[in-house]
Symmetry: C2
Subunit: 430 residues, 2 copies
């Protein structure tokens, strides 16, 4: 599309109320707009980024036999009374009454809805295991929304629920999902995400892991060992003993005084839930011996907006985000510098059409503005490859191709530019 | 995917509480599950249908220069106080307070959010016109939800908002959007949808149209003339005079006593809003003469779930939906009849893989159940083409290909079946 028509302001000044770079850059680049505390609208660039993240997640969830479904945002309180969470969850859950006086809630997670959807229709052991997932809006009335998309009240989440006839089968699937999560982060440009134990691993209880992007702006503390592969979040580590939860503390796994503490953003989590929900909500199946059993559940979440912000935290400079190709709002940012030069304009117009006809996603800037304005806008949109058509380049019969991270630049002859750009994209695609 | 693993019950009995066929068939076929009055979860077959409808809508909205954005589900009351609708809308709007006592509402439409998103960033006439749209969950506390997905409380909607510097420009875009809607319905399998005037056309006021699928089970009345192209909904017609709103009444356009009254389901609507929202919410731009002006708005809605139900109403028989190829949950329903025959099973397994490698979406039934159970399940899933592998067919070295509507059947030699099926699909794709 043409940049001239792209709705959303871009500007240079860092907003004073932004405590993390991703928030500041997303405000400066016209990605999001605050509607209320912790509630945002997305402009097109962000919607395109989250759409690509969602596509990656769908592919990986389908690859581990997930079935996409959809649960409601608004649910009857009665469903949450069944599980006991209507009482046990506090003010984070939004509650209201409908016109007939029925108590309703806004979904902040969907274990109850998942059990309600399947409990009447999966009654034989032969139909297990299975996994259902959705990508849907959730609302959690956080006391302290902060850091743009990192901690919000309304958010879009992929949440998945698996059902099994044994703990062993759950553990097998849990491991499969763990690997799918690794593929998701790698494809989205965050291969450095690590998983950390979110349970003590010693105290019994259910197994769970958090996936963490290590970054100083993260709000979670992660306890790691320099000598072995021990990794846990602060809460799980504290259950193992106070001494370890400091720099140089004793690792509970290898016993060496090698504990380090880092900051991280939680970009996903996976839980072994056991039979908590199936028991309380009376979901059963008949096993091979004809006996009634409760299925064992796992659940698996990824917040889409927080992941987008985390990618921006990991990939940006002072001028804007540097989106990895797989999640970039567009693949190519085409700049017609001095578009009042008719030959520049005519050639750039043609290149725009040629690139699109090859399936390339192009944002095209043919505004009559200075190269400085053009390039600072391009920096804020963070598109991986910038293609520059200008009077000088035209005289040399070439276009410039520059990567957003400045690591790559090349010239291509004008008549072969579309082909050259397409090749560069193909080589850079995962 | 394999039918054996598909979550959702299928059964023959028509549920007693279903007043329309689409609701009954979607319950019988494992498409949806009631969660509360007018609130449903979707199983995978419905999610796949609505996903395909959403893709068609996105393509057509992008083709008329729409920019996809996302507004929140939860909005502050203050936004609706600006437009005056916090007071003017009644109990259909869900309201609650957050933990800090701030009044919030659930979006039932997003004019306020659209104006809030763009009013600070589109200030020059040169940036007009533009259109933004989203596909998002909405909640409307209907007094009487009914007919499955036809009238619900929670629904997914495509809502679009265009902004213009003149009424003439709005009218031009309105016409363009009208044509895009016709393409959407045609591509989704409902070329018979008609647009009707939803305003009097005589009483002044704003122009709007509703898109109607004519069907006896519709809850709207449509007044049409047998002699000319007059078409209006009942409310608009009544504003033109009582006499016309009966069979044989006088047409207000051609004057002949040729009025007929039909029933229809509203599957979309488009409105010329004027400056109602831009004035009340103080959105302005600077025109060519440097003067401050209010932009003129249009808005354009399509309910996704209701459209899916309407397609089912228009395309079904007593055994199940007959999904048009473009919106079908899968393209091919592969039945391995007598899958205990190892040769049948081995061949069907291979055909399943071959079809998928050609990009065909296949639901594969290799359960050891009778052909009767297999075919009645296939009828309920309504996949356009059924491919039958059986011992008898195998002895004749062929597979049977039958369309769900029984209008087409063919045999293909086993070794060339994947290719033959792929060709049939290509020829039937729009």
């Amino acid at each position: 599309m043409k940049l001239e028509k792209l709705v959303g302001d871009r500007f240079r000044e860092r907003p004073s109320d932004c405590v993390v770079d991703s928030h500041a850059l997303m405000v400066r680049g016209g990605y999001l707009k605050n509607v209320a505390s912790g509630i945002f609208s997305s402009y097109t660039p962000l919607k395109r980024v989250t759409g690509k993240i969602e596509r990656i997640i769908r592919e990986e969830m389908d690859a581990i036999d997930g079935q996409e479904v959809q649960f409601p945002v608004v649910m009857p309180a009665s469903l949450w009374q069944e599980s006991g969470r209507y009482e046990s969850i506090g003010r984070e859950m939004a509650r209201f009454h409908d016109r007939s006086g029925n108590a309703l809630v806004l979904g902040m997670t969907h274990e109850e809805a998942a059990v309600q959807l399947v409990r009447d229709c999966v009654r034989s052991y032969s139909e297990y295991p299975f996994m259902i997932y959705q990508i849907q809006t959730k609302f959690r009335d956080e006391a302290r929304p902060r850091a743009g998309l990192i901690r919000v009240r309304e958010f879009t989440m992929k949440d998945a629920y698996s059902f099994h006839t044994s703990q062993a089968d759950l553990e097998k699937y849990y491991e499969r999902c763990h690997k799918a999560y690794e593929r998701i982060y790698a494809r989205a440009g965050l291969p450095e995400v690590v998983s950390v134990a979110a349970d003590s691993g010693m105290m019994g209880g259910n197994v769970s892991h958090e996936f963490m992007l290590l970054t100083p702006v993260g709000e979670d503390s992660i306890v790691m060992c320099r000598e072995c592969d021990y990794r846990a979040n602060r809460e799980a580590a504290e259950q193992c003993g106070f001494d370890m939860v400091r720099e140089g503390g004793i690792c509970p796994r290898c016993g060496k005084p090698a504990i380090t503490i880092s900051r991280g953003i939680e970009v996903g989590n996976i839980f072994q839930l056991g039979t908590k929900y199936t028991r309380s909500m009376n979901m059963t199946y008949i096993d091979q011996n004809g006996e009634v059993q409760y299925p064992v559940m796992g659940c698996y979440g990824i917040g889409i907006g927080r992941l987008a912000a985390s990618i921006c935290e990991a990939h940006h400079d002072e001028y804007g985000p540097i989106w990895p190709l797989a999640v970039a709002p567009w693949q190519v940012h085409l700049c017609a510098v001095r578009s009042d030069d008719m030959q520049v304009k005519a050639y750039a117009d043609k290149l725009y059409v040629d690139l699109q006809s090859r399936g390339v996603e192009v944002i095209y800037d043919d505004r009559q503005v200075s190269a400085g304005v053009m390039f600072s806008d391009a920096d804020l949109l963070g598109v991986p490859f910038r293609v520059i058509v200008s009077p000088r380049n035209r005289r040399q019969n070439m276009v410039e191709i520059v990567s957003r991270d400045r690591c790559f630049s090349a010239n291509a002859p004008m008549e072969a530019a579309a082909e050259a750009i397409w090749k560069i994209l193909s080589e850079n695609a995962l």
